[in-house]
Amino acid sequence: MSELWILIGASSAMARALARALAERGDGLILAGRDMDDMSATAADCLIRGAPSARAMLFDARQPETFQPILNALDDRIVNAAVFVGSMPAQDGIDAAPALINGVVIDSFTGPARFLHMLAPEIETRGSGVIVGVGSVAGDRGRLGNYVYGAAKAGFHTYLSGLRNRLTRAGGHVVTVKPGFVDTAMTWGIPDMFLVAQPEQVARDILSAVARRRDVIYTPFFWRYIMLIIRSIPERMFKKMSV
């Protein structure tokens, strides 16, 4: 039966890829984010690709008053959500203006967490539904290059872990997705990228994880082993390294 998916941060390349995959298998969509023109284009695209319903709705992590209207738009279909929001200003920009940290934490952690907290009762009521939280390998260990973003994502990972604990007992499920480098606007032009995955591959991995009720996935899968190595470096060595 057709289910409903709310995609938060729907203008991102990964969200667009997931939206298309969901549309082609016949699920309805609420595309939530800030760029209404862009999301309306994706919604139209998804309708043509087979989604029974697709609409764009405003979501701004920094404006919590945008959250409730999305929940008001739910019907009695099983509801699922996937969160792709986050912001990653350059670390040297943050070093020059530490106030930027607040925005990173709201965009990448507290904003989406607050929304998911409002959504959780809907899943508990229905006794079914999946939340996909897109974190980052950057959240697995604080590194020189992006530790503020990493810290926000680490907070989000921990939140998702707790939410999984809560929703599991009500019939719901939470998948934590930790992508490595993905070929998106965020990584375009950053030098020395390697093993870069396409957004379509991430979308496939997410759907497979949802179907198999996996808890935490890395995408592509080999990032699990890369991060295993990075996490296992003793702090006394790690603190002197630039990885």
Binding site: S11, D38, S40, A41, A44, D45, A185, G189, I190
Partner: protein
Amino acid sequence: MRWKIADYAGWGRALRATGDLARPERLSSLTALMAEEPAPAIGNCRSYGDACLNHGGRAVQMLRLDRITGFDASRGVATVEAGVPLGELARIFAPKGWLPAVMPGTGFATVGGAIAHDVHGKNHHIAGSFGQHVRAITLVGVDGQARRITPADPLFRATVGGLGQTGVIASAEVQMLKCKGDVIVVTERRITGWDEFLGYLDASDATYTVGWIDATATGATLGRGILEEAETGSGLVSQPGRAKSVPFDAPGFALSPNVVRLFNGAYYRRVPEKGRTVVKPIQEFFFPLDRIRNWNRLYGKEGFHQFQCVVPVAAAPALRAMLERIAKSGLASPLAVLKRMGPGHAGLMSFPMEGYTLAVDCPNSARATRLIGALETDTLSAGGRIYLAKDSLSKGNVVRAMYPNHAEWAEAVNAADPDGVLTTDLIRRLDLRNA
């Protein structure tokens, strides 16, 4: 970041470029980019030469603007962003009973590229060129403004077939054609020689007609090949599996004359003497080579050139002489196509004209350069023209002499982009901005 330094190449891989690429994912990023740092657009780089290259400069890669943003089922008009590959459009719409009105030989070509080259397909004799089915174009100018232009607009004729020189095509409204379904019924028959081939091409009343020609056959067998005539239909055939890929550059001998001659002989005899009718998924007919990703690697690291010309019907003997020249050279690869074209075209610099079109691939070499140079001279004296989506070797004076509306086009383009920020390697090599 907006720009990424990249090495890229035309499909023939004989010409390459290094430069900054942007890849906007939203219209607002594209218009902002064009307002601040305008650059020519590129798509999937399926043009063979340097139409998609801007060496040492910037280009906007359109592949992430790839959504179908509307479909009016009563009129069959789809609104599509420029980066949508035509094969994707066919995949989505064929089961609904619609196909892009014109599809070139690869489904990886994008809508933007199809407009900028005013491409043709196997139904050109009936349906005309791609641009004739475009109802409107949203064009982002060098000022960053998005404007909707229709065929009534003078800029339309300079944009269709306009090699990206009037602005960046952001999206288009394209008229789709009704089809019966996503399978195709193909009748293949052996053609024993040149005159028979032209006779069949002239007489064919099939919607889709194309000829494969054995460009290595000489003497009595000159011009032998296989004629394919096809109609769409409904039914159940197994859809194509995942595409295979050529993992590395093939060695030089892979396409040596003897290998090609052997292959062509076998390919010719693949079709029974009395012909046959087969039913296939549409992709296998329209985009036969798309099943093998990176097939251009078969030509090795030096790459290859494709020569494609069209000559008027009355100049058929000249085209026969050209085929003879090709066959004698022994340079042609198995990929050679002969087709009857109708008069349909939509732009000032469009390639199609009524006549016969011949396309041949040759591995990149000094001899191939000389052969293609001679073929260009032959084309010009036959009153024909060469296809700029394929060209990598021609000269400006030759091309300008082949395109009668070039001066009018150059004037329109120079008005739309006075500083020449949209020029590409092709435009500079052929000095096409110079009226």
